[in-house]
Symmetry: C2
Subunit: 334 residues, 2 copies
C-alpha cells in the first residue's frame, strides 16, 4: 500500500510508492527505453486485453466493454501510484503525519490511432477527450474520500511519457496538492481584498494589453503568463468565470478543443514539436471556491534542464520573456 506523508515544515504531501521500482542500483540505469511498437502497445485497438478492465469508453456503435471500435477509452493505470481500495488510515507519528495512499489512477486513451498526437486530432475528437475528463470527474466526485482530481498529459519521453500512444492521466487524491493550495490561497486573499476573482482581473488586463495573447476565441484565451516559470509556458483560461471544470457544458468544449489544438500547433511550429506537459487546474471537489477560483490549463513545453537551483528554491530563471514568446507563437504560420 503506498504511503502518503506530510512534510511538517511546509505542509506538502508526497506519495511513497515502493511497488513500482526495484533496488537502488536500478536508479543507476536511465529509465527510458525504445518506444513500444504497435504490436505490443496496450493502448491500441485489438489489444484491450493488455490493459486492466476498462472503466469507460465512447463507442460509435455500442459494443461490449474491452472490445475495439472505440474513440476514447479510459482504463485503470496498470502501475498505479495510489490504490482505490482501503481506508484512509490517518495517523500521527510524533511530529509527522501519514495516511494510506488511497486514490484512483486512470489513463485516458485519446485516440485509437497509435501514431496520432493530440495535436493531430480533429477538434471533435479533442472535445470527446475533454468530455471523458469531465465524465470521470463527475463519477469520482461521488467518492468522498477524494478531495482533488488531477488531470495531466505527458508528451514525449523527456516529459515523462513512458508509452508513445497518445494518452492523458487522471489521479484522484485524498489531499489537495501544494501548488493548487497555493493558488487557492492567493485567489482567496485577492477576493477578500477586492471582491473579484484574480484570474478574471488577469483576463481583463491581458486582453487589454494584448502583448501576451497567443490565441483567442469567444470563450477562451490562450496567453503567456506575466511571470512564467518556463520558456513558452502557456495558460488557457475560460473567459467566463468558473471554478469547476467538471461543470462545463458541451458547448464550451466546442471552443476549448480548437484553442487547445491551435496552441499546441503554434508551439509545435515555433519549437519543432517539443516534448510537453499540460495540467488541468480545477477546484478541489468539495470546497466552495466558486467565487474566487478559476479553472485553467497550463501547457509547458519541456525545453530546458531544470537544475538544483530551481528545485531548491522555487526560483526560476527564464531566458525568454513572455511577450517575446507570445509574439513568436502568435505570428507562427500554422
Amino acid at each position: 500500500m503506498p504511503d502518503l506523508r506530510r512534510d511538517p515544515i511546509v505542509g506538502r504531501w508526497v506519495i511513497i510508492s515502493t511497488e513500482r521500482r526495484g533496488r537502488p542500483h536500478d536508479f543507476v540505469k536511465p529509465q527510458s527505453g525504445p518506444p513500444v511498437s504497435t504490436a505490443l502497445c496496450p493502448f491500441c485497438p485489438g489489444q484491450e486485453r493488455l490493459t486492466p478492465k476498462e472503466i469507460m469508453a465512447y463507442r460509435p456503435q455500442p459494443s461490449g466493454p474491452n472490445s475495439p471500435n472505440w474513440t476514447v477509452r479510459v482504463v485503470p493505470n496498470k502501475f498505479p501510484a495510489l490504490h482505490v481500495e482501503g481506508d484512509m488510515g490517518r495517523e500521527g507519528i510524533g511530529l509527522y503525519d501519514r495516511m494510506n495512499g488511497v486514490g484512483a489512477h486512470e489513463v485516458i486513451i485519446e485516440t485509437p490511432n497509435h501514431v496520432e498526437g493530440l495535436v493531430d486530432l480533429p477538434t471533435k475528437k479533442i472535445e470527446d477527450m475533454l468530455w471523458a475528463y469531465r465524465d470521470r470527474m463527475i463519477d469520482l466526485r461521488k467518492d468522498l474520500r477524494f478531495r482533488y482530481i488531477l488531470i495531466f498529459k505527458n508528451h514525449g519521453a523527456s516529459a515523462g511519457a513512458t508509452l508513445e500512444h497518445s494518452h492523458s492521466q487522471l489521479i484522484a487524491l485524498p489531499i489537495v496538492p501544494t501548488s493548487v493550495q497555493e493558488e487557492l490561497d492567493g485567489c482567496r486573499n485577492h477576493y477578500q481584498q477586492k471582491e473579484r476573482c484574480i484570474y478574471c482581473d488577469i483576463l481583463r488586463q491581458d486582453l487589454s494589453d494584448g502583448d501576451r495573447i497567443v490565441a483567442e476565441n469567444p470563450e477562451f484565451l490562450c496567453m503567456t503568463p506575466f511571470a512564467p516559470r518556463f520558456p513558452f509556458e502557456m495558460w488557457i483560461l475560460p473567459k467566463r468565470h468558473a471554478a469547476y471544470f467538471e461543470e462545463s457544458q458541451k458547448s464550451q468544449f466546442e471552443f476549448l478543443a480548437p484553442i487547445l489544438s491551435e496552441s499546441l500547433r503554434r508551439m509545435d511550429k515555433v519549437l519543432s514539436r517539443p516534448p510537453y506537459n499540460f495540467i488541468l487546474h480545477s477546484s478541489p471537489l468539495h470546497e466552495k471556491t466558486g467565487d474566487y477560483y478559476h479553472w485553467h490549463l497550463e501547457v509547458i513545453p519541456k525545453l530546458t534542464q531544470v537544475a538544483g537551483f530551481e528545485w531548491g528554491t522555487g526560483f526560476y530563471i527564464n531566458p525568454v520573456s513572455p511577450e517575446e514568446a507570445a509574439t513568436f507563437l502568435r505570428e507562427a504560420v500554422i
Copy 2:
C-alpha cells in the same frame, strides 16, 4: 537588464534573463556539449585571465589577485542571471509587479584540480570552501539591496553543471525565494504554537527513532527526511539551533566538512556516483528569524526524470521510502 517579475496569484518571483540565450530555435537543440578540456577550462590555475576579475581567493602564500597558487577562488559568474549595478526600479503594472534584476552571481571554485570532485577533497579543503561561502555571505550582507543569499552546487551535466571543474555558485537576491518563504512561514507557525523550533523537534524525534539516520557526529546529523520529494534526498542539519549559516564558527566547519564528505561518499557508493545538487537553506539576511529558523543543507541525487505531474502540482511520487534509503546509505561500505 534582467527583469524580476512576480506572479500575482501565488506571489512567486521569477527572473526573466534574456541576455543568456538566442532565438527560439536554439531551444530545439539540446543544451549540453562535450566537457571542456583542461586546456580551455577557465577555472584551472594558469587560466585566471579567462574569468572575470576575482572577488576573493585563499592563497597559502600571498600573491596578487588573479594569479595561480590558490586553494579556493571566487569569481563573478561570466553569464550572470542578475546584475550587481543598478537600482531596484520597483514598479506596478496594473495587477502585476516587477523590478530590475539586481543581484550578485558568483562562482566558488572549490579546488585547483580539474578532475577532483568535492567528494574527493580532504576535509580541510572542504572546510576552506565552507569558509569561503561564509566570507562571501558576510560581505554581501552589507549591501542592503540584497535580502537573500542562495548557495548551491550542481554536479554533473544532467544536474545542470555546465563546466566540469568542481564549483559552487552563489546568488544574492533582492527578494526571498518562494520555497524559503514557505519554510520560514512553517517554522514561524510552529514556533507560535509550540515555542520551539520545528527543525529542533525533527532532530529530537529522528535522533531517537534512528531509522532515517545516514551519518552523525557531535555537531551535525545527516538524515533522510520523513516526507522526501526525491529518492535518496538527504538533509544535513546542525544539532545546535542556528538560523544564520554565516554566523558559524570555524570549529563547526571542522564537523560539517567531514559529514558532508561522508554523505556524498555514501551516496556515491550506493548510487554509483550520480549527478546531484545541494542547496544551502539559511535565513534571509535582515530578518530576525533566530528563534524559529534553522539553517540546513539539502542534498538531492538526480536520478529520475521529473514529469509534468510534479511541476504542475507540487506533488511528488517517490519510489523509495526514506527509511530504506537511509538503510542503504548507512550500511554502505565506504
